[in-house]
Every structure is written in structure tokens, then in C-alpha cells.
Symmetry: C2
Amino acid sequence: MGKKTDTRQRMIEQADTLFRRHGYLNTALLQVVEESGASRGSIYFHFPGGKEELGVEVMGRVHQTLVDTVDEAAKAGDGDPGEVVLGMAREFGETLRDTGYQSGCPIVPVAIEAVPASEPLRKACADVFGAWERQVALHFESAGLGAEEAHRYARLAVCALEGGLVLARTQQSLEPLDQVALDVAEQVRKAVLAQAA
Amino acid sequence: MGKKTDTRQRMIEQADTLFRRHGYLNTALLQVVEESGASRGSIYFHFPGGKEELGVEVMGRVHQTLVDTVDEAAKAGDGDPGEVVLGMAREFGETLRDTGYQSGCPIVPVAIEAVPASEPLRKACADVFGAWERQVALHFESAGLGAEEAHRYARLAVCALEGGLVLARTQQSLEPLDQVALDVAEQVRKAVLAQAA
């Protein structure tokens, strides 16, 4: 990567980290610039649309990271659809614990503020939720569920993990996240078994 | 209520409304004062601990509102544990739709920011999540579930509704909220039937 791409990428990564901890509105652009070692002038050079454009780019990064997390969990689970859910929960849980419960879901702190703050950012967050669901549903389908059922369980998994992450962060314990992940994993396994029977 | 109590109460209600839309950090104390028709000096008269104290009081109000919502849903459901979940989803959904998808869960926008912003506020949010879960579990137990199972389903219901609310707000559609509520309601009903069998 050239120097220009490097700096831009570092700013996106740094913004991702800061948004997860402090939200979109409470992260100052100057902080992103400083902590990524960029120069003050570079923000509008790399992101002519300012913070909103940076926010949309961060959601693009989150999109890719989430799809990778889902795929890695599915691969490690070797065909067990429950492991898709449990693997995601473990990955989220590790980050949460390693950051002293400060870094939870990468979408929620931005999504919550995007309504009513920014329509392009709201759309970007909605797209990430949609892509996350579709990727989970894909693996549930591979495990044997019909398309509609796969999408229902994928949505339940995403919503339960989202809620579990918020509770875990607030209660400073991984227990709520781990428990809902176990519950949903168990349900998906049962649904697959029922389909095969 | 006397004038003093009136003003204090109005400020708590106004802060609740503003926190739900804009979060805790992004709501200015001055805005709370102005929109509740109080005088500038009144904030530190009523809340010597400032915004943090106001935040904790708002969570006290949310606590009571949530417990009431759960009890009303249970009462309307007349013994059907699924209706506890569906009734909550309807109540949340109405508020979300009536506010143009700006007013979602009353805890999440504060809870997300309370870590790392304020330890007393984090505790207050954790308490509300706990009380909400216990109240749901109480009705699941009344419907026939054992204590442990009732708590597991209550936690799943709370997490799924939380996630459903965030997705609904972001996607500007009640569909994710309604769907996860239906799924969890169905599961709780099945669990109660299995218990009775």
C-alpha cells in the first residue's frame, strides 16, 4: 500500500476503535487524526465528506470484519450450525473482556446515534446488520435449514447476540452473552435435526 | 405534588425523552432545563450531583416504566407467557413508530455510553436490565416454568428484544422487532407445554 492508502486505512481503523468505545458523536475527528499519527490537514484530504464519510467507511470495515468472523466461526465449527453462533459470541466476548468491557458491538454505538444524526450513516449501519444476518443465514442453510427458517434463526442470533453484548458490557460480565449464545445455538441445532428427521 | 417535586419530575421525564433520542452524553443539561420549562439555576438545586445524578434518576424512572410494561403485557395476556414478550414488543414498537424511529430502548443509549463514562450510571443501567429480566421471569414462572428455565427465557427475551429494537430503529421498520418477539414467544409457549406434559 502507498503512503496515502496507509494513512487513510489507519484513520478508518482508529475511528472504528474509538466509535466502539465512545460512539460516533462523542469521537472528535481531531482525536482520530492524532491517534492514527496523521496530520491535521489529512482528514479532509482523505475524507472530503468529513466525519460522516469516515463513519460510512468505518461501517464498510465493520461489514468485512463481521462477515470474516461469521465465516471463521463456521469453518471452525465444521458443519455444526450452533458453532456459528458460539464462535461469534467467543470472538465478541474476547474483545469485550480484553478491553475492560469498553469495546462491545462495533455497530450499535454508531447505529443508535445515526438515528436521527445522519441518514447516510443510518443506511450504512442497516446494510451491515443485513449483511451480517445474510452471512449467518448462509451457513444455517448449508447445515440443512430451508431459506426462510435459516433467515429467521439468523435474525434471532444477531438480535440475541446484540442484546447479549449490551448486557455484558453493562453488567461487566460475559455471562449474558454466553448464555444467549448457548440458547440460540441449541435451538438452531434442534431445528436442523428436526429438518433431517 | 408540590412545585418543587413537579419541576424535578418534569426534568427527569424530559431527560428520559432526550436520552432515548440522543444518548446521555449528547444531551445538554441546558436542553433538559429549557424543554422542561425550569429555570437555569434549578438543575443544581434539584440535582446537586449534576448530570450523573439526573442520569441515575432517569434510570429509576425507566425501571418503573419497564416493570409496569411487563406487568401490563402479562395481565393482557391472561396467563399466556408468549403474550408477555409480544405485549412488550408491541409497546416498544408503538413508541418507536410514533417517534419516527427515534425513540427506541430507554436503556441502551445510556448504557452504551455509561461504559466508560460513568460508573454510578453503569450500575444503574445494570440494575434496570436485572429488574426487567426478573420481572419477565416472574411471569414465566407463574405460567409454569421452573425458576432456572424462567430466568433463561427471560434473559433471552430481554436480549432478543434489545437487539430487535436496535435493528428496527436502524432499518426503520418494526419487522425485526416483531419477528424476534414472535420467535421467543413461541419458544416460551413450547417450554411451558413441555413442562406441563
